[in-house]
């Protein structure tokens, strides 16, 4: 895929009237960043890009208070990576988006860059220039220039990703690859499970004590679209609003349970976190349970019911007291 192909495709969709608006990524204001752009004329399509900096999951714009976007009569096109397409599928199965009204445009993803990893590579020095291709990344700063393989700096969520290309699409720019095997997808979760209970609690406490309760994780999440989030309910108020560790932990645990069987592990939450909390570990634990117990992988088929809204009568119930 080339950026030119991408722009031309979007342009023709707009000029042929197949869509009224395309949500995509444009160049960000800092090296190694991108920003969501809303393209409604063919001229604007020239600002579109796609590379390893396109880390936002754009499906989020179909939910939240912009749900109006999906309910309008507008025909909307959206650029998706593999994980983003799964979010769309989930939202379609949950009747938040009308499949007919959305044009899904797949783009080939090789993983998105975690800038914190890149900054780590150059010992915290400021990066002034960032270039990448499907294999490697080059960064320049005041007194350095460094090239390294893309795989060394992609987000954790991309490292174990086996569905890099859209699972559901109307158009694909380039060639969509078949999903790989997710046999070893949860090695990190299994590592953590091996620790003893005390150790796990201490690590969690350490990790989550940095939380500033800005809810960036929730707000960038396409699966988190309640009109009023449980943490915002104030009559009665369930959860304290201060960054106190038990309130914070309860917020994160419950949020994880609310997206159980609905999380596509895109990692948008983790990348949005200003405090760099490893949020995805909990999501991945839940996803692993959902896969192992109910055989369900979120957002992989339009006909699948979300796991937590479904059941089988003779299910494993080993956790119920005998």
């Amino acid at each position: 895929m080339t950026v030119k192909e991408l722009r031309e495709t979007v342009k023709s969709l707009l000029t042929e009237g197949k869509v009224d608006l395309v949500i995509g990524w444009g160049k960000g204001t800092m090296p190694g960043t991108s920003t969501p752009v809303f393209i409604d004329t063919a001229e604007k399509a020239d600002s579109l890009i796609f590379d390893s900096t396109c880390r936002n999951n754009l499906s989020v714009y179909f939910t939240k208070d912009r749900r109006a976007l999906a309910k309008d009569d507008k025909k909307i096109g959206v650029l998706v990576k593999g994980c983003d397409s799964r979010s769309l599928v989930l939202n379609i199965t949950e009747k938040q988006i009308d499949r007919e009204k959305v044009t899904i445009i797949g783009v080939p993803c090789n993983g998105v860059v975690d800038m914190k990893k890149v900054v780590g590579k150059v010992d915290g020095k400021e990066i002034l220039e960032f270039t990448d291709d499907s294999k490697k990344v080059t960064v320049k700063g005041r007194e350095f220039e460094l090239t390294f393989p893309l795989d060394e700096v992609i987000s954790d969520s991309c490292l174990t990703c086996v569905r890099r290309d859209a699972v559901e699409y109307d158009l694909f720019i380039g060639e969509a690859r078949e999903p790989g095997s997710d046999e070893n997808a949860y090695a990190e979760v299994e590592e953590f499970e091996k620790l003893d209970s005390e150790e796990r609690w201490e690590r969690m406490k350490q990790e989550y004590s940095a939380c500033i309760r800005c809810y960036a994780c929730r707000n960038v999440c396409p699966s988190c679209y309640c009109n009023v989030c449980f943490v915002d309910q104030n009559d009665p108020q369930w959860i304290g609003k201060s960054p106190e560790i038990t309130d914070t932990m309860i917020f994160h645990i419950i949020r994880n349970l609310h997206v159980a069987g609905r999380c596509v592990e895109c990692g948008a939450c983790e990348r949005a976190c200003p405090m760099d909390i490893k949020l995805l570990l909990l999501n991945r634990k839940v996803a692993k349970e959902v896969r192992d117990r109910f055989g369900s992988i979120t957002g992989t088929g339009l006909e699948n019911k979300p796991a937590m809204a479904d059941f089988k009568e003779d299910e494993n119930q080993d956790f119920i007291m005998g």
């Binding site: 960000g28 800092m30 714009y61 990790e207 800005c214 809810y215 960038v220």
Partner: protein, 344 residues
């Protein structure tokens, strides 16, 4: 002006710790912030702007207003020692000044007796600020948009310049002069130091991006209030509070009670932000700022219009933290540019 060789900086801080409760940049896990100093060796003098803003030293994320038991109210006594902050950048020092206009008494509206905030004043009024001049501003810095610069001393009591081998302490305020004057056993800064300081300042100024003219932004913003430009600017905002909570000048808060009625508990104030729908949601269910773009607009109106009307300054000092943390790269500089470019 005095000179402290880098090897002796711990000695200086230790002396400071005898009378002051000292806060300085430190690393906490993956993030950097201003933390109370227990051991001067733990200070990270090389940190660029801390990830968390230093406003929390004087305006904590969650602060107890008072405790209660039954109907009895008891104020919580804080550490009686005054606060000294070491290593504050110019942008953050000016942020504290701005917050002092709101909470303290540095500035009062001419026709309105503002209430003083006792919790802010008891900490800020007696504090001393050792600011660090920025030798290497970053591409996200835009303090020069607000008439300041990387080596600006506004809001500091003592400006500290790193010349490579030493820290030069240059008193800015009366309080700073008095403190530096009271010190013994430190050498005066040499002519060579002064030359180096000037060179560093020049170098730092050169590293800053171009100044963007913001004249008349407050009227411009007000004129554009109902204009569709806000739909465009607001389209990508997901309404999280990352920008506001990381901001060194955002200061809205919520007041909540923790504990049970008639029993033990406390009333606390907690950072809050206009980005959350719940911020203005009334008991009836009516929300005056219902849409995402209304809330985004409020944040920028407050910074670049309302605050100027009330306090003659922008509520932004160009530290660039929000530029870095925004999950959708909604760059505050771009917002300003877009607004200024818009025909009313």
């Amino acid at each position: 002006m005095i000179r402290i060789e880098k090897e002796r900086i711990d000695e200086f801080i230790r002396a400071l710790m005898e009378t002051w409760s000292v806060y300085a940049p430190a690393r906490d896990g993956k993030n950097t912030l201003f933390a109370p100093v227990e051991d001067p060796a733990g200070i990270d003098h090389g940190i660029f702007n801390t990830d968390k803003s230093p406003k929390e030293i004087f305006f904590p994320h969650s602060e107890v207003l008072f405790e209660f038991e039954g109907g009895e109210i008891k104020k919580v006594e804080r550490d009686a020692r005054p606060i000294a902050v070491w290593g504050l950048r110019g942008c953050d020092a000016r942020s504290l000044r701005l917050l002092d206009k709101v909470f303290g008494s540095a500035w009062q509206k001419p026709d309105n007796d503002m209430f003083e905030d006792p919790y802010w004043k008891e900490k800020y009024d007696d504090s001393i600020i050792f600011g660090t001049a920025c030798n290497e501003p970053r591409s996200t810095c835009f303090c020069n948009w607000f008439g300041a610069g990387p080596h600006d001393g506004a809001g500091m009591d003592v400006k500290v310049v790193d010349t490579g081998e030493a820290f030069i302490l240059d008193p800015v305020s009366e309080k700073g002069k008095k403190y530096i004057g009271s010190l013994k056993g430190w050498a005066e800064a040499t002519k060579k130091d002064v030359t180096k300081m000037k060179a560093a300042a020049k170098e730092a100024d050169k590293a800053m991006g171009e100044v963007f003219g913001m004249d008349g932004i407050q009227e411009k913003m007000a004129d554009l209030f109902l204009k569709p430009v806000w739909n465009d600017i607001g389209a990508k905002c997901v309404n999280c509070g990352a920008c506001a909570f990381i901001c060194s000048t955002c200061h809205c808060f919520d007041v909540q009670d923790e504990g049970k009625k008639g029993k033990k508990g406390k009333r606390i104030r907690i950072w809050d932000t206009c980005m959350f729908p719940i911020f203005t949601m009334e008991a009836s269910g009516h929300n005056p700022r219902d849409m995402s773009k209304d809330r985004l607009r409020q944040r920028f109106m407050h910074k670049f219009s309302y605050f100027i009307n009330n306090y003659d300054e922008h509520l932004c000092t160009g530290c660039g933290r929000c530029v870095i943390v925004c999950p959708v790269n909604l760059d505050i500089r771009e917002v300003v540019r877009e607004v200024m470019a818009c025909e009313a």
